[in-house]
Assembly symmetry: C2
Homo-oligomer: 601 residues x 2
């Protein structure tokens, strides 16, 4: 994985050139490499040995606390204390001003080695980022800085038992706490009451405190909750109370662990049902203005969604590597036509069988495609932060468009890669003696959390391709055209240029059709196949860029170039050809799903 990661960072995305920007001026490839080294070492030494254990010994509910297996505290704190949680922030607050793309590259190793344990860091990182961007100075110093230092951990509390995808329907209430509620130095002080569901990392003793970021509604004068998503506000609710000056106390806030969810996978981090305000109300400090909650949370959600895509990709890589290692060792069967019926010769290695090679190549093509997509998005985040005005605007629009793709594509296809990893190992892959079945179970979450597949599809087709008069889509089409032009310089790429151009035409036709008011309802009913097609075209485009980088790299070795060439060929021959099928239902305006009635099932 690391060789491909570095190749994509330096040969393809030219990450070293970020040092030319003022914010990153102190950095060189050496500093980037030392961050990768540090991350890889901690992840390999501390996370990897625990990954099976945290699955087998899932978190246990113990009298209102969560019991985690031994070793977790040490491993998670090795990461938390490394300085990586602050790495992207300014020097003046203790950060390293590391580019986001390098930050994400560093995080790959944690997800690769234990997705569940990595989630503690991801949540803390995202929580602190939100507060640094939108909190008051006091909120930043009391709640964000200790997270960047790894002393406090963070959570995101959005869903409720009756409000998952439908956040506008949440019912957690926040009431002003006393007459002086508005004068609190930590922000307007409220008392929260309600239940939150699916909250990861919300109870443990790994850190000095836990900072919950909680969505809740402030009732109006008649006691009614304001309707819909626009009525949601955001609150900081610490597990242990702090003094008005921000000092940590030993007093528990009124937040109680009501239960643990027993998950199919991803068990390295506990997932909880939390109860706020059973004894009068949990103290919370409002962030931003009333009604801004969802908007602020989405600041965090968008990066979180790209991170979900990266995590799904790392599970894909983990399965790919495990099944590749197995296929290179295990002997089974004989090749057809090579006198397979004689017992005097040895059996061949699994990797010699074409069907096994097909399954390995599929995993390579899908995992590396997912990595390209996540890194490309991370690079856009840097562009959005440090580019000139035109670059920032372009990057912002592209990110809006590609975020649902980055999240959904990897979640779907790296799960498929994990299924192929099981298949390569055969019966052994179906046992818990090998890690591949766990990767498959862990990965199944990624199409669900942080917005389901269906929600991402509606976001893409119902919102992102339309907003700003379709500017984002137009910018992306332009980007694809540039890549096609560049690829035309290489004769061997001609068939791929043609294939991608053809798919782009069809996709643009479907996109136009989906916006035609007469077809829009039918198209939205098929938002998921649309998103599948879109995702495959995006990844084919990135694969073409990656191969171009390989062909034009002065330093890439032969095996790397050949591997990238074959993986791209695989993607075009076996995957991109599916696009026609997905677009078909949009182009034909298929209404089967709308015509189906509930009592005909």
């Amino acid at each position: 994985m690391r060789e491909t990661l570095e190749f994509m960072m330096y040969d393809w995305l030219k990450v070293d050139s970020l040092s030319e920007r003022e914010r990153y001026a102190a950095h060189t490839r050496e500093t980037f490499q030392s961050v990768l080294d540090l991350s890889e070492r901690i992840a390999t030494e501390k996370f990897h040995p625990l990954n099976r254990l945290v699955d087998a010994q899932e978190p246990e509910f113990d009298n209102g606390r969560v019991r985690l297996p031994g070793g977790v505290k040490e491993a998670v704190n090795a990461y938390a204390n490394s300085g990586l949680l602050a790495a992207g922030h300014d020097y003046e607050v203790g950060g390293m001003q590391l580019p986001y793309v390098v930050d994400m590259a560093a995080n790959t190793f944690f997800s690769l080695n234990s997705i569940g344990l990595a989630a503690f860091g991801m949540l803390t990182y995202a929580n602190a980022n939100l507060l640094m961007a939108h909190g008051t100075e006091a909120q930043r110093s009391v709640f964000a800085l200790p997270q960047m230092e790894g002393r406090y951990f963070g959570t995101m509390c959005l869903s409720e038992p009756g409000a998952g995808s439908s956040l506008g329907d949440l019912t957690t209430k926040a009431l002003p706490d006393g007459q002086d509620y508005a004068d609190c130095p930590l922000g307007p002080r409220y008392r929260l009451k309600g239940s939150k569901m699916w909250i990861s990392g919300a109870e443990h003793d790994l850190s000095e405190n836990i900072v919950h970021l909680v969505l809740a509604k402030i009732p109006d004068e008649s006691g009614q909750l304001p309707p819909g998503p626009g009525g949601i506000s955001l609150f900081i609710v610490p597990k242990y109370l702090v003094t008005p000056e921000g000092g940590l106390t030993e007093a528990r806030n009124d937040v109680v662990l009501a239960g643990l969810n027993h998950k199919l996978g991803y068990r390295g981090i506990p997932n909880t049902l939390l109860s706020f305000g059973e004894s009068g109300g949990a103290i919370g400090y409002r962030v931003g203005e009333p009604g801004q909650g969802l908007h602020l949370m989405f600041h965090m959600m968008n990066e979180a969604r790209i991170n979900i895509g990266m995590g799904a990709t790392m599970l894909g890589f983990a399965g790919y590597q495990a099944s590749l290692d197995y296929a290179r060792e295990r002997r089974q069967g004989r090749l057809r036509g090579s006198k397979g019926r004689k017992s005097d010769g040895q059996q061949v290695k699994l990797i010699e069988h074409p069907d096994v090679r097909r399954m390995l190549l599929a995993q390579k093509s899908l995992s590396e495609g997912g990595l390209a997509l996540a890194l490309y998005c991370a690079r856009l985040v840097d562009e959005k932060r440090t580019g000139d005005e035109a670059q920032r605007k372009r990057a912002g629009l592209m990110l809006e468009l590609l975020t649902p793709v980055a999240k959904s594509w990897a979640s779907e296809w790296c799960l498929e890669a994990n299924s192929l990893a099981i298949q390569v190992l055969g019966g052994y892959g179906y046992t818990r003696d090998f890690p591949v079945e766990q990767y498959w179970r862990d990965n199944r979450l990624n199409m669900i959390h942080e917005g389901t597949h269906g929600i991402q599809a509606l976001d893409l087709l119902g919102r992102k391709i339309r907003q700003n008069d379709g500017q984002a889509y137009a910018l992306w089409v332009e980007g694809v055209q540039q890549t096609l032009e560049q690829a035309k310089a290489h004769e061997e790429l001609e068939p791929y240029v043609d294939a991608l151009a053809h798919c782009m035409d069809r996709l643009s036709e479907a996109t136009r059709k989906a916006q035609d008011p007469e077809c829009a309802e039918r198209a939205l009913a098929n938002a998921t196949p649309y998103m599948q097609a879109f995702g495959h075209v995006v990844v084919a485009w990135l694969w073409l860029q990656v191969l171009l980088a390989a062909l034009e790299s002065p330093t890439a070795g032969n095996a790397l170039v050949q591997g990238k060439r074959m993986a791209m060929r695989y993607f075009f021959a076996y995957e991109l050809s599916k696009v026609a099928s997905w677009l078909d239902v949009i182009l034909k305006g298929d209404d089967t799903v709308l015509a189906m009635q509930g009592d005909w099932f």
Copy 2:
């Protein structure tokens, strides 16, 4: 499920007309229905309540024995004692001469309610069938009849730790047992030594005895094992020894439980590593002639493979039903355009969301498609057993061709259906509080056992379409043509007739190309995508037949007809369109997989 099952049996496959055949003359629809009633009742009352328990409390190794959760013995014996294990056999041996298709229909309920527990019966049934067909009279009465009565249970012992897909490489030895070995009334007596892996149901105390059917090799005079699959023989190895007259003793044979496999799912039945002959040699009685072992076992394997397809289908149905029930109850979100932003209206039920309906319709289309395929094959078994000479020949050839399809198609696509069931439930689907995650884990085995997906694909493309000069393929094409002709009578079916005819042309072109010696190697490297395409065309063909039966049925209700119409429409619009992509690599002679080298990964 039952309504569709009966519709397919009576309206589509005209199962009642089997009563016109001499063997089934005593049967009527009423006797068939009473068998279904009995099976559904036992499965619902005894199997269903245990399904979660047998997953949570997986079989434990306890000092050479297997400990199973309480209740399993009663449940499995309710089935074993019901007479169903003998139902297909002749009256004179205690059977009911039930048609095979009814037998399979009855078994659907057990798989639907607990796939792992159902496996005990499946194995016993198949074991007894093999012995009834190929054993001597003594072997039938001593080992098969007690299985038909449910007193003994059976296993199939094929794989070894180093020989799974490559059975020709197995190393279990069978040596003649004494000078008089050939004179044993129970068949030539041998002593077996070796290890067998992945043996389901090989140790338990549910039955009076366990009959292992074991593949082993008889060394030649120089002590060498005969090479390849042609050197394999078949032996009956009972867990408890029997007297030469067949009386059960309390003496254990030399077969030891060496370990249990800890599986991802399918935990209702223990899966074991067995050691034969640690103390001198396990006593085994040869069935058939030396070297015939694999041939005889395949008699059992072919029906077992159709049963795997049926089991995978039932898991698909189980997930479909669970997610449909959930989607009809759970309220979440609002529909677009219907003032979703106001909080005064209730949220809508999940089933109102088009994307949820799409996922439910996909599950319906895939599960019912799998059922149609399994029942169609079962109906062919009856044709092969009781038809006239021409019918028997035709049915035999069709079965050969369709068996790898029946096994692989349902294993792949009903697994996909189970993933959609999880998705419908969202976060709840990812927890063990709902059954859908278990169905998904259980179903993942079906692409692996009884011949992996890759093995089925080689069987189809490398063997079945070629054998008898392509007669089976030609017969099937003729069958499709007949359906297309019949469908032309219905104007509404015109687009589906065209779509299927187009796919058939492409498939036949790919099939011809794959047999061209110049392309054969590349085509075989793509045997899996070929099989995927073939499977989808087969199921589209059966869906067309099913809809024709619905349209022409005098009794089918409106909801059933509409449901079948929509499910067929879904299959053609969303699934059949994938065929072009899979065939593409064959038609273009894509050699990516062959060109990829091991050190480029």
